[in-house]
Amino acid sequence: MSNLQPVDKMNIFEDIKKVLTSEDVANIEATFKRLKESKSDSNSKIQRNLTIVGAKLANLESSDNKYQVALAAMTKAFTEEIIKHDKSSKHMRRLSFIAIAYLCDPFDVIPDNDPDLGYADDIYMFFLVLKEIKKLDAATYKRIAESYKKCLV
């Protein structure tokens, strides 16, 4: 039997919920909603942010911060299980791009230069995306969760 935790029980997400204020949460949720709606300016921003994803991933992997390390693992898991996966739908890919592009933006809801909380909002954005993926396709969600754990090791 699988010992996978549901999305809202993953430790890193529990951690994040404790440190984010209700205002932060509302802002991140509003940003997620806005990014989901296809608008040309947000598409362009997503595209621009995704240009630097390779460098961003290298930066995160070299970090000692647990949030940044978790984000590197999440990015890899999304890339492997959705973006590179042949059977992923366009919508699933777009959701993944939203989370990864948000991660690449240093001037998001909590700017990344905040040493303690700078990446907490990025994790919450992944949480929102994962929650939506779980609703759409439990099997993909499971694959991401497994891949995430492997990438963390």
Partner: protein, 221 residues
């Protein structure tokens, strides 16, 4: 010794993941802007304009700025914040438009993953041939790197610029280059040679000369 012939061994390039390899020794350093071929541009001109904006900043001026090019008028060419009076027989190219054949090449480059990858890498490598954003001289390169990363006027100025221009870059995305002489020479550079100079050394002198002559866009003059 011809110092120029030994530069290739003395010149080091670091990015954020290699930051732990920056030595805690004396040296000259410069920050360079990484030339990403951002994927949201359909036209090569847009990318060229974006980079023109980065390097057009003039650190000797403060306050708000906007890069606009005005029409050439006789004897006078105005570029937003800089006004230069000229008395010369010159031809001024009023715009920074790329040659018309560039767009076709750009489209071909974008069309194929292999050409795009090679072009992106060449552009990124060429970052070191752009004017540095900031130049300095320090007794401890590693410490200075981390100072700039955590809290510095340079960081604030650069990140404000990126925010304003919607660039997804922060100071940790920049390229840090260092250049050191041999240990003894670097030691001499950081020795106090003037009694009443408040601890200022030859490093300070060199840094000031570099800043005033090269006018790196994000150094405070």
């Amino acid at each position: 010794m011809n110092i120029l012939s030994t530069l290739s061994q003395r010149f080091k390039v670091y990015t954020y993941p290699d930051r732990h390899e920056i030595p805690a020794s004396s040296g000259t350093y410069a920050w360079f802007f990484p030339l990403y071929a951002f994927d949201d541009f359909n036209e090569a001109q847009e990318l060229a304009d974006l980079y023109r904006n980065v390097f057009a900043l003039d650190s000797t001026f403060s306050g708000e700025y906007q890069l606009t090019e005005k029409e050439y008028t006789e004897g006078r060419h105005t570029r937003s914040w800089q006004t230069v009076s000229l008395k010369a027989d010159v031809t001024v190219s009023p715009t920074s438009t790329l040659p018309s054949d560039c767009q076709k090449i750009w489209e071909q480059v974008q069309a194929l993953p292999e050409t795009k990858k090679v072009f992106d890498q060449s552009l990124m490598a060429a970052s070191l041939f752009t004017p540095p954003l900031y130049i300095g001289k320090t007794n401890d390169l590693a410490t200075r790197y981390h100072q700039h990363l955590s809290d510095s006027g340079f960081k604030k100025r650069f990140e404000n610029f990126c925010r304003k221009n919607k660039l997804p870059l922060s100071i940790s995305d920049l390229i840090f280059c260092s250049l050191s002489l041999d240990v003894d020479s670097e030691k001499l550079m950081s020795d106090r040679i003037v009694d009443d100079s408040e601890g200022k050394d030859m490093n300070y002198l060199l840094e000031q000369i570099l800043m005033k002559s090269a006018r790196p866009p994000f150094s405070r003059q």
